[in-house]
Amino acid sequence: MSYKGEKNNINSYQLSDKINPLTIVGLILLFSVVLTVGGEYQYWIALAFASGLLLLFSLRKTLSTILTLAIIWGILYLLKPYLGSVFVGSIYTLLLIIIKFSPIFILGRALSSYSSSHLIAAFRKIGIDGGIGIGITVFFRFIPEISIRMKEINDGMKIRGFKASIFKPIKTFELYFVPLMYKCIDISDTLTCSIISKGIEYDGKKTSFHEVKITFIDIAMMIGGMILLGASLWKIF
C-alpha cells in the first residue's frame, strides 16, 4: 500500500541527502583559511568545489549564483580602467572581496538548504547544543528570510503611500526597521513554539527524523578540503 506523497519522496531523494551538514560547516572553516592564505589555483579549485556541491542541492540556485558572480566579474572588468578614482577604487575593492570569499558564500547557500531540525540534529551530534547551535541554525535559515520580510514591508509602505528618503533618515529607519523588529519578535515566538513542539526541552536522549552520520562522501570531501588547505599553507611556510 502506498500513499500519495510516497512517489514524490522517492523521486526527491538526491546525493545531497548523503552529505552531513557538519561537513559543509567544516569546509567553510577550511576554505576560510584557504581563501585567506592560498593562491589563485586554490581559489579556483575552492570555487569549483563549492559550486559543484551547490549543484547537488539545487540547479536553480547554482545557475543564479554563477550568474551573480558573472555580473560581478563583468562590473570589475568595466571598473578596472577607472581605478584612479577613490570612489571607484573602493567599490572595486569591495566587489573583489565578495568575489574572493564567494566559495564560502556558496557553501553557506548550500547549508541554508537543510531544514532547521536537520541542522540542530547535526550540531547536537558533536555536542554543540543550546545557544551556539541554535544561533548558527537560525543564522543559516533566517538570512534568506530577511529579504522576504523586507519585501513585505516595502509592499506595505507602497500600499500606504509611504516613501523612503535619504534626507529623512530617522523617518526611513522607523518605516523599515520598526516593522522588521516586530516581525523578528513574532518570528522568534513562532520558532520557539516550533522547537519546543519538536521536543527540545525533553531531558532524555534525543533522536532525529534526519539521519546524521559521516558517510564516505563526507570523508572524501573533508580530505579534499584538507589537501587544499595543506597546499595553501605549504606556500607560506
Binding site: 576560510s32 592560498g38 573602493s90 569591495l94 553557506g108 544561533g135 519578535i185 522568534s188 515566538d189 520558532l191
Partner: protein, 198 residues
Amino acid sequence: MNLKGIVKIAVFSVIGFVLTMGLGFLTGSFGMVPSLYLSSALPTIIVAPVFVIMCKQVAQRGAAFLYFLLLGVFYALMGMWPVIVVCAIAGILAELVIGKKENYSDKNMKVGFGFGAGMFVYSLHAMYFAFVFGVEGLTKQFPKMFTTDYATFLYNFYSPKNIVICLIIAIIASIIGAYFGTYIYNKFFSDRKKKSVL
C-alpha cells in the same frame, strides 16, 4: 537563559550581523582613509535599536554577551575568524556596562551604553590587527588580503594623532547609538501591550 531568550537573541543577532556587514561595506565605499576613520561608526548608530530591543525583550543577563559572541561566530563562518576574539571581548564589556539584571528591563540607558561600549571595542578591530600582527605578520598571515604596501599604509596610518581621531569618532558614534537605540525602544516598544503567552 531560557530557550525563548536564546532564539530571540539568535534572530536579532542575524539582523545585527547583516546590518553591521552591509553598513561596513557602505563605509568602505567612502574610500580607504574615510573608512579607516569611520570604521564601524554607521553600524554603531543604526544597529543600536536592534540590540536595545533584543536586550529589553530577553531581559536576562548574558543576552549582550551571547549577541556579540554570535556575531563573532557568524563572522568566523564567513571566513573572518580573528573577529570572534574581538567580539567576545566586546560582549564581556557590554555585559559589564549593563550591570545588574534590572537594567535589562528598566527604561534607563544602560543597555544602550552597553552596546556603545561593545561596538567601541569592535570598531577598533582594524587597529588591533595592525598592531598585533604588524606589517610582516599581516602580509604573511593574510597575503591575499594585505599587500606589503597596504599593510605598511595601515600600520603607518595609526599614528597617535589618527588613533585619537578614531577613538573620538568611535566614542561619539557609541553615544549617538546609545541614545538612538533607547529613543527607538522607548518610542515604539516600551509600552507594547501584546505579550507572548510562552
